[in-house]
Assembly symmetry: C2
Homo-oligomer: 381 residues x 2
């Protein structure tokens, strides 16, 4: 155990139909005008937007709508959102969507109150305030509904960078697992990979000896695998979708790293650099990077890989555990090689160069110079 | 999975020496005057009180002191605390101690702002506000540092009753595991039993099928057993004390029951009735009640007891799991029979009568009429 501070004030309201409560929750917080941020037309077609608007109306909340968030949200679209939020003098941001919509909404919440460009916060400026953020989640994966993280891509500079602040935890997040029944199976697979990766980053890169946190992580991974398998067989499996949703939230809400000391996000670092260039789904990128990174990292923490193999798959060597995870990624049809998503091996140097900047920003530049990142990526050819 | 709301806004600051931050935390919250509540002289002798007062002075926080909280905190002492808090017009309660001190502090925080007697809230009146509560924890067991629960005993009526409110979550709790190194081994054992019981209540009484929560519970129980064994061999085992402390917090902070639907606290119900009469340590009472209750309840949920046996002890029958837990209680020298704490079998009817009122208050009177409670207690003779 190492010293830590844990403070996660987000209120989670979980259950079918709970989006009907959003008007009341905003009212209770004294908010009268929101910017409603969403992605593509699916929230319109599904009728969700209409139900949300009805709830807002019931709570006498006025609302400006701002759709069009991309699945790797863009800085340019974020900047427009900031301009709109300022013009309409909204008092809060209401995100209706998946992790991308939530992430961009947080960035808009920060940018609206800032006296500088919102990108400044992604390259190092400290966040000191933000508009209150409320969310209605439609895709379980990123954990953005219960943390202060936001990832946005600057398409001009090819930088997929993040902010992490106590000011950008949502006040209230509504999780209706029924909204995730229609998530396509490929995106469900990518989400599973993302959740597993979130807990694996700390699990493998921390110091040994924090068994409580190891057990929490193992419980989360086993549940993700179990529920994903059920969903693959039956996409409307209500219990599996619900359990998957809450598990993905716990995978990145601060619970599993509390007390583990220093750790890092090498897989996310490499994947962000990759999807900044290729615009592939984040989880798809991670299922390519993870087995490669694990094979490279195995020798640095053999005991933990052995534990992983035993606890998750009932196998008795680190290598066997990594292979079993990779096989499972293949089973759920998530890509495991660069060629699976059309990235040629000749592009490895460009990705490694892009990742190097992020490694430095995250304080792991020493362990991950360009050559090492390229070496890891070559294991994914 | 069942619908739930999860909202735990307590900020946890964990680490050696962190009590030095209390002045700054109160300052950040705009508080200028506190009632400092503590128990017996140990916090004075250990020098903790002096360090806390120095931190308050550094933050320009003035303070009234109120010691003498009992290990089963009394309503009479709580009422005096309320009078003192009102007289001195304090703006917050600062609890320095274990679960009892925290529980009484919460009751004082509620009583100070009420226009009725504080006991009214323990017998059904809804808590609508409370002074802000800050805590410095010296004994890991009850989880009171990160929940809204408070248990107080009315010695006149022999009622050990509780409140549970969103208004009584501590704003900030400081957990310095070094403060627990001096906790005597018998109280460490009782604390281990308490933490295990907190997670077992939901684990055994909920509906089956919420595997994520099962795994979180199992991780907590395994860690409590592992760290307690280490502490029994070396009471100053820093890693074990630290891990035990955080594990006990997670055992009752709302994490493990989120999503499990209806569940109940039958062991706590019976134990509270017992210690309201006999003033035995809460955990000591629980290690008597739990094996008895488990033997009685086994037939109602055999699958979960089988799972418990397998996951916790690597055994293959529910009965074997219960026996292994009971044997472990004996190993750590926590009592497992009424006679171990000097309660004669002839007193069972009186305890059952007392428990019956609590069962009704907790909505489980139907399952636990007086005769059944007596039947369970007879398994502890």
């Amino acid at each position: 155990m190492f010293d830590f501070t844990f403070h996660n004030p987000t209120k989670i309201i979980f259950g079918a139909g709970k989006e009907a409560l959003i008007g009341a929750e905003l009212n209770a917080a004294g908010i009268k005008k929101v910017l409603l941020v969403y992605g593509r037309n699916s929230v319109v077609k599904s009728g969700l937007l209409e139900r949300v608007l009805a709830s807002l109306k019931g709570g006498n909340i006025s609302c400006s709508q701002y759709g069009g968030v991309d699945s790797n949200p863009l800085l340019s679209h974020t900047r427009e959102g900031v301009a709109l939020a300022r013009r309409d003098k909204v008092e809060a941001i209401l995100a209706v969507g998946g992790g991308s919509v939530l992430d961009e909404s947080k960035a808009i919440a920060v940018g609206t109150l800032a006296d500088c460009d919102v990108w400044d916060f992604f390259v190092g400026k400290e966040v000191t305030r933000a508009l209150p953020i409320f969310t209605i989640l439609t895709l379980a994966a990123t954990g953005s509904e219960m943390n202060g993280n936001s990832v946005v891509t600057n398409a001009e500079t090819k930088q997929k960078y993040n902010i992490a602040s106590p000011h950008t935890y949502p006040k209230v997040s509504i999780l209706n697992p029924e909204l995730t029944h229609s998530v396509p199976l490929n995106y469900t697979a990518y989400s599973a990979v993302d959740a597993i990766c979130h807990v694996c980053e700390g699990y493998f890169t921390k110091e040994p000896g924090t068994h409580l946190q190891d057990r929490l992580v193992e419980g989360i991974i086993k549940t993700v695998i179990e529920t994903t398998d059920l969903i693959m067989a039956d996409p409307s499996h209500a219990q599996a979708r619900a359990s998957f949703m809450w598990t993905a939230t716990l995978a990145l809400n601060g619970l599993t790293p509390a007390g583990i000391g220093n750790y890092s996000f090498p897989n996310h670092m490499i994947e962000h650099a990759m999807s900044a260039i290729y615009n592939i789904p984040h989880g798809a990128g991670l299922s390519i990077v993870m087995p490669a990174w694990m094979k490279w990292y195995l020798a640095k923490n053999p005991g933990q890989f052995e534990r992983f193999a035993k606890e998750i798959f009932g196998l008795d060597s680190g290598t066997a555990g990594i292979e079993a995870l990779e096989r499972w990624f293949v089973t759920i049809k998530s890509p495991v090689r660069l060629s699976d998503v059309g990235i040629p091996a000749t592009d490895i140097e460009a990705i490694a160069e892009n990742a190097e900047g992020l490694a430095r920003q995250w304080g792991i530049g020493g362990l991950y110079p360009r050559e090492i990142i390229a070496e890891i990526l070559r294991l994914a050819v």
